[in-house]
Subunit: 165 residues, 2 copies
């Protein structure tokens, strides 16, 4: 397992929040295709398709759909899977650890995401840490609305879990 | 663990050979810093420095030195570590799974390497599979002399192991 993550403010984005749902259900929301589809992108966007093969090197693909019906696929693979605790995936490698093809244009955005779950009372300390290789990639992610986007998605997740309990 | 690797001839390079040394010693040659320094690059080049942190996300850095004394560092991280059997590392992610910074120029070469060891008689079926994201990266690796280079290095490894038995 990777060691404790050293945050580099020039390269990394962090969303940390204590949420009122147990981490086992957060884990399920992240790793069950049908659940993920319901919360992963802020409405009125939606998830048109999703593939999750939950092991190192396994596929993690999501296809986001805009309100106008345009679809934006993004693919990557998992790197570390520690149930209920730690999910790591990257966009820099495709399934089977194949490097993502070099493409020209701005939509290429290599990052690695750590989803870290710790019990906190009856809830969960939720941390999403996104690390990048250069300041430009971090800025692109920030400008795409990381904080509001991942925050709104997390709200949807908590609402989904709460409504089922 | 990743599944059996599907080779794509347009993107991948393969070196396969049966060698006359047991796989436990091949594993040691790949994972022990002092041993790796002795065989990893074909003479008269040498390894000036090497760092191995043998776990997923752990550092794999080598610094190659030309006969003229020029040094060429390259860094990446391990992805899968199955002792005596399977070693997977990539240049697309730095230690801690951080994406390699985007740089301009030709020396950027994202690849993932699978070193696969199977017992064969008293020796080892040795496979090195290098996968790339696009045909250009494969070609660059090929033009750098993958086959002769990795072959000559493997000869040096077998010679080192044999001389110690």
């Amino acid at each position: 397992m990777t060691k404790e993550i050293e945050i580099n403010p020039d390269l990394d984005l962090v969303l940390e929040r204590v949420i009122d749902v147990p981490r086992e259900l957060v884990w399920k929301a992240w790793t069950d295709v049908e659940q993920l589809k319901r919360w992963f992108v802020p409405k009125p966007w939606s998830v048109a398709d999703c593939r999750i093969d939950i092991r190192p090197g396994g596929e993690f693909t999501t296809v986001m759909r805009s309100p106008e019906g345009e679809e934006f696929p993004s693919s990557g693979c998992f790197l570390e899977v520690v149930e209920n605790e730690r999910l790591v995936f990257t966009s820099a490698l495709l399934p089977g650890f194949r490097p993502t093809p070099k493409v020209s244009g701005d939509h290429e955005l290599p990052f690695t995401a750590f989803i870290l779950l710790e019990p906190e009372g009856v809830g969960t300390r939720y941390r999403a840490i996104l690390i990048h290789g250069d300041p430009q990639s971090k800025k692109t992610h920030e400008d795409m609305g990381f904080e509001s986007g991942w925050g709104a998605a997390l709200d949807q997740m908590v609402e989904m879990i709460s409504s089922e309990q």
